[in-house]
């Protein structure tokens, strides 16, 4: 069953009533609970803000444990996506979660799964980070949805998010396509009361021979692609009747088309300032063309409100530009960053209130490495060991140790994407840079560092890889790392690094001189060397202590 206007009443202001049987959930947790209640048999994910809490919630869930829902962390987003596709192939419902840039890693699997299609429902929950609170960019995952030509859901509230999960799995099975549920930081990391529905059971194991769909040799791929194109009118039809898309009555020459949580800020501004403009709420793609046309026909001007890139605004404008369209591209709203109620009010012509300024004494308070963190001692040693080289460069990666770029350390000089430390150092070494040094965490090394190290070994590139092994994925809150400790050593050996150039140091103040010496020796080596700086994360240790105290185990 797919929810439409007729079988599920949207919650309008009139129908509002206080509900007591609610639990308070983060948006991310509403995704998790919704997926559990939709009968998933597994979740696959690599941690990444703001998506991490989805999988953590399932890992903590008693119901998930009792139902045998598999939930441990994957090595990266690509392995996660492929495993989820495999579970779907076997007939069961699977959820795969990642942050927006994680979808770049999983893109090969994602794009092609739209061609093969799915068996059991496959839902990709992807969390975008507009304003880049914890990310390198603010790319908009809806672009991937358009690219793959599959359905995308973008709920506006935590309750809608919960309700959307069952809808997403049903839609996925009805259309035999993967479905994206796109959330953004604010929705993922905000709590609200959520009313739960009765859970549905898991699908039985039901793997089907369908090589004509799943063997993407050209002749199969061509017919599957044709099939995907043929599905488009049906997908659009489903959007017309989706409970996630609905008009809000109003009047006046200016209308608003509000996507995802852009709807929240629009409605908040509308209520707070007594506006009565027409609004079209969009939460399911492809666009419901009839609804959109109705809005554009009724209004002289349409404000396009998107939390992310102006993806649909650009389409509405067209190459030659429609004078009707307003939004992020003409300055009505800022081109970058998260939306707010104030930005919406301003775009709708309401003057902003006079407010107090932030006093000039309020200096910035950037994040920093924890007091006593082993990374601090590691960076002290690296800075001294490499400081002997007047012009030096240290390539790095994504994790807590990225904070080593900030004062007082200023120890690293790049952070681009997961795993790029090793491969960029290799390229710089190929160009002649000496010493070529990089710093990567244990979890990031497992995620995307191993293949780059193999390249370096195969080329005998003069390169030192410092693996900051704190035995956890610390920046996102201490999730299990896929490779740490002795496993790291065995991986490096297996990839062909010489045994006597795999060194381990313990980054402690008392070991500073010794650590500088080890690093200096390996920096001077004209081949691939590894220095594992091994010390457990303090936060992880504290968390385990609290857990032990609470459970007595």
């Amino acid at each position: 069953m797919i929810f439409t206007h007729s079988n599920r009443a949207p919650e309008g202001a009139n129908q509002y009533r206080a509900r007591m049987n609610r639990q308070l959930l983060l948006g991310a947790e509403a995704v998790a609970q919704g997926a559990l209640d939709a009968g998933i048999s597994g979740v696959y994910a690599y941690p990444g803000t703001p998506s991490t809490e989805i999988t953590e919630y399932i890992q903590r869930s008693k119901a998930a444990r009792e139902g045998g829902v598999r939930s441990s962390w994957s090595t990266n987003e690509k392995t996660a996506y492929e495993a989820a596709l495999g579970m779907s192939y076997a007939g069961k419902r699977s959820l795969v979660c990642m942050k927006h840039v994680g979808l770049n890693v999983a893109a090969d699997a994602f794009m092609n799964s739209a061609i093969t299609g799915v068996n059991g429902g496959l839902v990709l929950a992807v969390a975008d980070d507009p304003s880049m609170h914890s990310s390198q960019n603010e790319q908009d995952s809806r672009v991937y949805g358009r690219f793959a030509m599959g359905p995308v859901l973008e709920p506006a509230s935590q309750q809608e998010l919960y309700d959307s999960m069952l809808h997403a799995f049903e839609l996925s099975e009805a259309m035999r396509l993967p479905v994206i549920v796109r959330i953004t930081t604010r929705l993922s990391h905000s709590r609200a009361g959520v009313e739960q529905r009765t859970a549905v059971g898991q699908n039985p194991l039901h793997a089907e021979y369908a090589p004509e769909r799943f063997v993407l040799m050209p002749h199969n791929a061509r017919s599957q692609y044709r099939h995907l194109l043929d599905l488009q009118p049906t997908l659009e039809e489903l959007s017309e009747s989706s409970f996630l898309n609905r008009p809000v009555e109003g009047k006046g020459p200016v209308g608003v088309i509000a996507f995802g949580i852009g709807y929240n800020y629009t409605m908040e501004a509308r209520v707070a300032h007594g506006l009565d403009c027409r609004v079209l709420k969009i939460g399911q793609y492809p666009l419901p063309r009839k609804m959109v046309n109705e809005l554009f026909d009724a209004c002289a001007e349409v404000l396009v409100v998107e939390e992310g890139y102006p993806v649909y605004e650009e389409l509405f404008r067209g190459y030659f530009g429609s004078p009707k369209v307003r939004g992020r591209m003409d300055g009505a709203l800022p081109r970058t960053g998260e939306l707010t109620t104030d930005l919406l009010a301003s775009a709708l012509g309401v003057p902003l209130p006079e407010t107090a300024a932030v006093p000039s004494m309020v200096v910035n308070r950037p994040p920093e490495l924890c007091k006593g963190c082993g990374h601090r001692d590691m960076f002290d040693a690296i800075n001294i060991a490499i400081g002997k080289h007047a012009d030096h460069h240290v390539f790095s990666d994504i994790g807590c140790y990225t904070l080593g770029a900030l004062p007082p350390y200023r120890a690293i000089h790049t952070c681009v994407d997961m795993g790029a430390s090793i491969t960029m150092a290799k390229g710089a070494a190929d160009a002649g840079l000496r010493p070529a040094v990089c710093v990567i965490g244990d979890s990031t090394f497992a995620h995307s560092g191993m293949t780059g190290l193999l390249d370096a070994v195969n080329d005998r590139s003069p390169l030192t890889v410092v693996i900051a092994d704190n035995d956890t994925t610390a920046m996102t809150g201490g999730q299990h790392s896929s490779a740490s400790g002795s496993k790291l050593v065995r991986i490096c050996l297996g990839l062909g690094v010489e045994e006597h150039h795999i060194r381990t140091i313990v980054p402690l103040r008392k070991n500073l001189e010794e650590n500088i010496a080890v690093l200096g020796e390996e920096f001077a080596y004209e081949g691939v060397s590894i220095v594992i700086a091994k010390r457990d994360c303090l936060e992880k240790a504290a968390k385990e202590k609290r857990r032990t105290a609470a459970t007595g185990k």
């Binding site: 206080a18 905000s190 109620t341």
Partner: protein, 191 residues
């Protein structure tokens, strides 16, 4: 009824426990809640805030609009000032006075106090000292919850029930310390 509350502090100072108590109490009152919080990089000693909104009607936005916060409740004095543009003209401010200095350029305390006093009649609290009297400096966030309680729109006894519910698993002693801390903070605001 609608209350917009900004909780402010530094990553690791426990503002989310304050939020959790208010959330629990509001949920039990059958109220609508939106509470946006900061996860990720800033939690490592950076400036963090939570936008907490409670109402007896539907709430749309997770974020508070400028000039509409009924209360800025901060566990660190400089952080209280960071969110001044959000304070409503008739809004209140309550802040702990213990500075958390982990960056260069932290202003001198007398200048900071003068700036805080410019914002109407702030409730300025020596939270750590009061929490110590209550049994543990770790309860200073509950001192601050008490100091801000009259402006939350939720009765103190409901908030106390929230403290019971949230700290219950940690044992009677922890609950009692936190309740004592809460009540001492509340006394300050009520006098």
């Amino acid at each position: 009824m609608q209350k917009n509350i900004i909780l402010a502090g530094v990553g690791g100072q426990g503002i989310l426990s304050i939020a959790a108590v208010i959330d629990w109490a509001a949920l039990n009152e059958g109220l609508e809640i939106r509470q946006a919080e900061v996860h990720g990089m800033s939690q490592r000693g950076g400036a963090v805030q939570s936008h907490l909104r409670i109402a007896d009607h539907e709430i749309f936005a997770d974020l508070i609009a400028l000039g509409t916060a009924d209360l800025i409740l901060s566990v660190e004095p400089l952080e209280a000032l960071r969110y001044l543009p959000y304070l409503a003209p008739d809004g209140h401010m309550a802040t702990a006075l213990e500075p958390f200095i982990n960056m260069p350029g932290y202003p001198p305390m007398d200048e900071l106090l003068a700036e805080l006093r410019k914002s109407g009649r702030p409730v300025l609290v020596h939270a750590a000292e009061i929490a110590r009297e209550a049994g543990s400096t770790r309860a200073s966030n509950m001192v601050m919850l008490g100091a801000g309680a009259p402006f939350t729109g939720i009765a103190p006894e409901k908030l106390e029930a929230g403290i019971e519910a949230l700290f219950g698993a940690k044992g009677r002693e922890i609950v009692d310390i936190n309740i004592r801390a809460f009540r001492k903070g509340l006394e300050l605001s009520n006098t």
